[in-house]
């Protein structure tokens, strides 16, 4: 079942060269799809096109099952600095007009799920970069998204925080049966998280290779240390490199 479909989509920013496309992507329900590519290849643009934050210059973005409820996680935590963690998480619920009590309960539950139950009343500036990103993920989860779009969410974090967040994201995505489109430039991150990877060419970004991965059921923290993971990462890396050289 297709949740979102990009059909021969192109994007040209005013006064610039073509940034993206032509690009065809079909996002299937329940998959964890990574868009993997070098900086500036337009993968963030692709995500914004899916979200409807940008309009395509050519081609179309469609939702065969009707427009899903979209959650978006940005590269920065993008929290409101004047609001406590719980109020930040509650924001989408507030905007949808959900009653304050129910909103608080759901926001708090989401914070507990990302491991920040004790920090509900902290202001963002009192939290570390990793914790802020957790709040940002909790905000996306609290709204029960049918399609979760993540734009290099862990790029600014240190290695340890990043791995911990990868583990937790995988667990949360599995628990909720989330459909995720995840933009990254990290081979290891995409190999660890995805069920499917689209390797993208440099600007203007197109899909150069598709890599399907085995079901992530076995993936745990320990899986990163197995030869199987190393082999998977190597395969992804090879595909990406081939994509680069084809484009060149």
């Amino acid at each position: 079942m297709i949740v979102a479909q990009l059909d021969r989509v192109e994007k040209t920013y005013a006064g610039g060269p073509k940034a993206l496309g032509p690009l065809g992507i079909a996002v299937a329900r329940g998959e964890f799809l990574s868009l993997l590519g070098p900086s500036g290849c337009g993968k963030s643009t692709a995500l914004r096109l899916i979200a409807g934050l940008l309009a395509p210059s050519a081609g179309s973005v469609s939702f065969p099952q009707g427009r899903p409820r979209i959650g978006f996680v940005f590269q920065d935590a993008t929290l409101m600095p004047w609001a406590r963690a719980i109020a930040n998480v509650r924001l989408p619920l507030d905007l949808e007009g959900i009653a304050r009590d129910e909103g608080n309960a759901r926001a708090h539950a989401a914070l507990v799920r990302v491991g920040l139950g004790d920090f509900a009343h902290a202001y963002p500036r009192a939290l570390s970069g990793g914790m802020r990103m957790r709040v940002s993920i909790a905000r996306a989860l609290a709204a029960k998204p049918e399609l979760l779009l993540m734009d290099e969410p862990f790029a600014a974090l240190d290695e340890l925080a990043r791995e911990a967040l990868n583990d937790d994201l995988l667990k949360l995505a599995r628990e909720d049966g989330l459909t995720v489109v995840f933009v990254t430039h990290s081979v290891y991150e995409s190999a660890f998280l995805s069920t499917r990877i689209l390797a993208m060419t440099p600007r203007p970004g197109r899909v150069a290779a598709e890599i399907a991965l085995a079901s992530p059921a076995a993936r745990t923290r320990a899986w990163r240390l197995t030869p199987e993971f190393a082999e998977t990462a190597a395969r992804v890396s090879r595909s990406l490199r081939e994509a680069m050289s084809e484009a060149a």
């Binding site: 934050l53 978006f72 920065d76 989408p92």
Partner: protein, 261 residues
């Protein structure tokens, strides 16, 4: 630097300057109608205290009213600008024109139009004109400075214009507004005083008029006393607004958060 030193240093400097002043005036026998001694100024302040205090109150009242109207009007117009680019394009040149025309030059006109029998209203309008612009320009920038990704997020979750304004743009603008208020508070006082000077005649009863009056009578010590009160008032306004800024922002804005080591 310790807190104690921060208070002690300016205080010690002030005391030293006053003592030197007193001594120089005594030593060179400077006439009191040129430069009175600090002790004479203190005497003048004590002697005329009730009437000076009444004048202070008049000046303060007009200053505060002008300031409040400047904040209200400035924020309202900035919000209007943020909602309609067309309104901003049409009005902002006039707002700038109002700002760059020296208030002293407009004052006689306003006084004539409003009339001497309602001189307080004329002073209020003049002080408002001076105090209004920093609020307008700061708030306009602040409303525009909201995080673009947050604006997108609000849009994704179906936020109305009103929700974006109330929940995102206004809080983002708050640090800018508060900083504009610190400038505007001082300008409201300056505007009031300048307007009082221009209005001249005895219908105005603020501190500026006391200075003119004392000057005409060569009561220089009284001039200094009124000047002292004006300075104290200006400092009080500045620090009150600084305190307000700190209280409003201390939990979340970098400018007000004390650095933790």
């Amino acid at each position: 630097m310790t807190r104690g030193l921060r208070l002690a240093l300016p205080f010690a400097l002030g005391v030293a300057a006053l003592i030197t002043w007193e001594w120089l005036v005594t030593y060179y026998a400077v006439p009191r109608y040129v430069l009175p001694k600090p002790t004479e100024i203190a005497e003048a302040l004590a002697a005329d205290f009730p009437s000076l205090l009444a004048s202070l109150w008049t000046t303060l009242r007009i200053t505060l009213a002008a300031f409040a109207l400047a904040v209200g009007g400035g924020v309202a117009l900035a919000v209007l600008f943020s909602q309609s680019r067309l309104v901003e394009l049409a009005l902002s040149p006039y707002a700038v024109a109002l700002q760059v025309t020296p208030v002293v030059a407009i004052a006689p006109l306003i006084v004539i139009w409003v009339g001497y029998e309602r001189i307080d209203l004329a002073l209020l309008i003049l002080a408002w004109i001076v105090a209004f612009f920093p609020i307008l320009s700061n708030t306009t920038v602040g409303l525009r400075s909201a995080d673009h990704n947050l604006i997108d997020l609000f849009g994704l979750h179906g936020a109305s214009r009103w929700q974006v304004l109330w929940r995102l743009r206004l809080p983002s603008a708050l640090p800018y507004l508060l900083s504009g208020m610190k400038v505007s508070g001082g300008l409201a006082l300056i505007g009031t005083v300048v307007a009082e000077f221009v209005a001249g005649t005895g219908t105005a009863t603020g501190l500026a008029w006391r200075i003119v009056e004392a000057g005409n009578r060569l009561q220089i010590a009284k001039m200094f006393a009124a000047l002292l009160l004006l300075a104290v008032l200006g400092i009080a306004i500045y620090f009150a607004l600084g305190l307000l800024e700190y209280l409003a922002l201390r939990r979340w804005h970098e400018s007000a958060v004390r650095k933790e080591n």
